[in-house]
Amino acid sequence: MAVLGSIVLRLGYTALILACVSLMVFGVTELLPGNVITMILGTDASPQEIQRLTALMGLDLPAWQRYWNWVTGVLQGDFGMSLRMQQPVAPVLFDRMAESLVLASVAFVMVAIGGVTIGLVTALFEGTRIDRFITGIAVIGTSLPEFVTGTVFVLLFAGGLFDWFPPSGYHGFDEGVFEALRHLFLPAFTLSIVLAAYVGRITRTSTIDALRSDYVRTARLKGLPEFQVICRHVIPNAFVPTVTVLFMNIGWMVGGIVVVEAVFVFPGIGRLMLFAITERDWTLIQACALMIAAVYVFSNLIGDLLAVWLNPRLRLSSN
């Protein structure tokens, strides 16, 4: 019962955060230097033209009213008009968002599999050369920015040494799964490296902690086969932090995706955002920022909820 209450509380809190986020995004665009109107019309526009466009764009309304219009519009799926592209933002936004989500999903699967494997292996072989080697590589992996790893991969595998993958571009799934995956592989892999190394470290630590715990000692001294000890005693306890970290950091990937898309020229929401910023397209900036932040907040929420659900101590109250 108390758990339901805490879930509701979290949802409410998330809604509050989103509201603040939208305020901040809107506020940012208010603070942007330069005059939107003159940027569109040019500096030698006549006062009537200026006035007309101002009224048309609703820029003469007070800030809070513009904010309100914007938010109500967003909730109905209308993100306004792109200033540069002269078309509604929403379709482009959702399109690009979908592509990015595909990329992020593939990367997520790689992180989950790779990170957990690394963590388990290094924990079970703790202290040996395998452990030190893999951990060393993982540390190096976390310390390289995506643009470096991406660039190195392009150099190595997409035209440099080997020519296995295309260096850029996107291929829809409807045009052939294999080709699509071939295009997705390098960007997804680049995106996944840092997080996989991080997840691996967390998994390693929690697995080692579990292996050294008293309850594993009890299990071993009960005469259980080692395989059973690992599956039923070590893994369930060691994986709780891992799963939480995995989901809480989806949002991080959403951030890193901007750079990866830039390196691989991938048509996702990250490149859209970059475009919006360099072109000073305010409505587009607002829309992209809000979208990216929303995905980030929601994935944190899921991670939070999972943390509660997986941990019996938090899920059930004590007697």
Partner: protein, 271 residues
């Protein structure tokens, strides 16, 4: 095992010190001005005059890389300074006072953290303009909630210690307890946080410069250099390789150092 006897730590620290040295004195060591274009010798492979080769405008890569180091470390340390200037007191106060103070601080930090770092930085840079100062402020602000959180966690771990309560029971004031008792106990994790945060700041800043949102040409840090090399790297890999090499050899040792300090803190005491 004492930290300074750990070979990994020593090597890592040495490499970082070398970078700092090069960053400070690179200007004098560089053979050419970093922005001097020589159209006679564009895209030349590394040789005795140009140790790192030249880029598509004939600029000496070695000089560019050295100048880049100066910029990178400048904004790196600057950003971390901003970060800790805000994050450290907030974290300590939050941990020590608890209650509504803690809730308020953490909620504020949460709101800042509800943006992905890159996004938040991009937004700040758009407002503040694209130059070094805004870059420092942007990166510092973006990371200060995370630092505050880490400091708070580290301080909370020792907050309930008997000696802190004993200090309170003695009648010690808040300022004393926070800075003379809490901080020294938590200095280990805070040091680790410093190293990691520095490395992230450098990476984030380099990413911004790669995207063209930070320092503008002809100034270039290593991230910007990699960006510039995009078009030429398949033909002239040295234009990308050297900046990449320098980034990796700065950030990886920082991570290794942080890792070693962390290990030392966990294993070393009282074992």
């Amino acid at each position: 095992m004492r930290l300074y006897k750990d070979p990994v730590f020593v090597v890592a620290a040495g490499v970082i010190l070398l970078h700092i040295f090069l960053a400070l004195f690179g200007g004098w060591l560089a053979p050419f001005p970093y922005d001097e274009m020589r159209f006679m010798s564009t895209l030349q492979a590394p040789d005795s005059t140009h140790w790192f080769g030249t880029d598509q405008y004939g600029r000496d890569m070695l000089s560019r890389v050295l100048a880049g180091g100066h910029i990178t470390l400048l904004f790196g340390f600057g950003a971390v300074f901003v970060c800790f200037l805000i994050g450290l007191p907030v974290g300590l106060v939050s941990a020590y006072y608890g209650g509504w103070v803690d809730q308020l601080c953490m909620r504020l930090m949460d709101i800042l953290m509800s943006f992905p770092t890159l996004l938040l930085g991009m937004l700040i840079l758009v407002i503040a303009g694209a130059d070094m100062t805004s870059l420092i402020i942007a990166v510092g602000l973006v990371y200060c909630p995370r630092t505050a959180r880490m400091v708070r966690t580290a301080a909370l771990e020792v907050r309930q210690s008997a000696y802190i309560e004993a200090a309170q029971a003695r009648g010690e004031g808040g300022f004393y307890v926070m800075f003379k008792e809490l901080l020294p106990s938590a200095i280990g994790p805070i040091l680790v946080e410093f190293c990691i945060r520095l490395s992230y700041a450098i990476l984030l800043g380099a990413s911004f410069n790669y995207l063209g949102l930070g320092v503008q040409p002809p100034q270039a840090d290593w991230g910007a250099l990699v960006q510039e090399a995009r078009s030429t790297m398949l033909m002239a890999p040295w234009t990308a390789l050297f900046p990449i090499l320098f980034i990796s050899t700065l950030v990886a040792p920082l991570h290794l150092m942080a890792d070693r300090i962390d290990d030392h803190l966990k294993g070393g005491q009282g074992a």
